[in-house]
């Protein structure tokens, strides 16, 4: 069968059409929900030390200076967050900014020996040119007596429940 239309092969037409479909696939229509783009979890990895993990979807990134962590109650005594080095980029509006992609592990010292709720505010964007309104995600953490079973209490909580609890940040 002759698959040529004039001088352009069907393959070329398909390639051309797919340039369009690839672009529209990358467009904002397919934007992930923020809690899927920036999957959050937190656990106590040893007494007095929380590890916060974000699994950042491909094509998305987070800003270092937008993270805010608070403990409820405040008396849980959250220390200063320790971030790994990110990627420095020169933003035309903000100058030098540090961003993260892929997996991000942040460590937070905590004084509490009991249970507390960690509230994490974060903000990120998609490469397609959309930025998310800051998202607040929470995790209930329980400091166990022995470091061996120090764990989070909300581990079995269905994702949906957590998503329902996720609320826009207070300012």
């Amino acid at each position: 069968m002759n698959l040529r239309i004039g001088a352009i092969s069907v393959v070329e037409l398909l390639v051309a059409a797919c340039t369009a479909c690839a672009l529209s696939a990358a467009a904002a229509d397919d934007l992930l929900a923020p809690e899927q783009a920036f999957r959050f979890s937190a656990r106590l990895i040893e007494p007095g030390l929380v590890e916060v993990r974000y699994r950042i979807a491909n094509g998305y990134y987070m800003y270092r200076d937008k993270f805010r962590f608070t403990a409820i109650p405040q008396s849980a005594g959250l220390g200063e967050a320790r971030f790994p080095p990110g990627k420095i980029k020169d933003d035309e509006f903000f100058g030098r900014v540090e961003t993260y992609r892929g997996e991000l592990l942040i460590r937070l010292p905590v004084k509490s020996a009991g249970a507390f709720t960690l509230q994490a505010v974060s903000q990120g964007c998609a490469d397609v040119g959309v930025c998310y309104i800051p998202v607040t995600q929470i995790e209930r953490l329980v400091a166990a007596r022995s470091s061996d079973d120090a764990t989070k209490s909300g581990g079995d909580e269905p994702d949906l429940l957590r998503r329902l609890r996720d609320a826009p940040p207070s300012r």
Partner: protein, 175 residues
């Protein structure tokens, strides 16, 4: 056919396909407009940069481009100079931009001055976030632009960056 001709034809095909894709994209729009979204938007009242409450309904009768933005959102800042130009050019023909900033007032003021924004800016904060969702942007992505015609009907929504050409194509038939 010689090679340059084939390349030219290929380019034409690619551009047409792109245009078709773009057309579909515009009409299928970035977000599913919620029925009644335009009414809810037009019924909103938010404070301006001076703290005075402004009802969006005051611009009824014009073609209104409501742009949700924030100073922490680089793609939002990128499109604002084009909006400023379009407001100047098409304002006399009945086009009215209204910016709703999901941000705090001091930062917004600073940027509005820096960008010489020539259209009203309202401060959204929490209520603005609610409004963004009610108009059908459940992902909470910015920039997000909603275009309403002279009769208050929704004629377009766009999640992500807009440019003058793209926006003119949406507003021109309504002006």
């Amino acid at each position: 056919m010689k090679r340059p001709g084939r390349i030219a034809l290929f380019l034409v095909a690619a551009v047409s396909a792109l245009a078709a894709g773009y057309g579909l994209h515009s009409w299928n729009s970035a977000t599913a407009p919620v029925s009644g979204g335009a009414e809810q938007l037009m019924a909103a009242t938010l404070p301006d940069m001076e703290g005075n409450f402004q009802a969006l309904a005051q611009w009824r009768g014009k073609v209104i481009v409501v742009n949700f933005w924030a100073t922490w959102c680089p793609p939002c800042l990128k499109e604002i100079p084009e909006f400023v130009r379009m407001q100047e050019k098409l304002g006399p023909h009945g086009l009215q931009f209204v910016g709703i900033a999901i941000d705090n007032r001091d930062k917004v003021r600073e940027f509005a001055a820096k960008f010489r924004i020539n259209y009203p800016i309202l401060i959204g904060e929490m209520e603005g976030i609610e409004l963004v969702r009610r108009v059908g942007n459940d992902r909470g992505g910015l920039p997000f632009t909603v275009i309403v015609d002279r009769k208050g009907r929704l004629i377009g929504t766009e999640l992500g960056g807009l440019n003058e050409q793209k926006l003119t194509a949406i507003v021109a038939p309504a002006l």
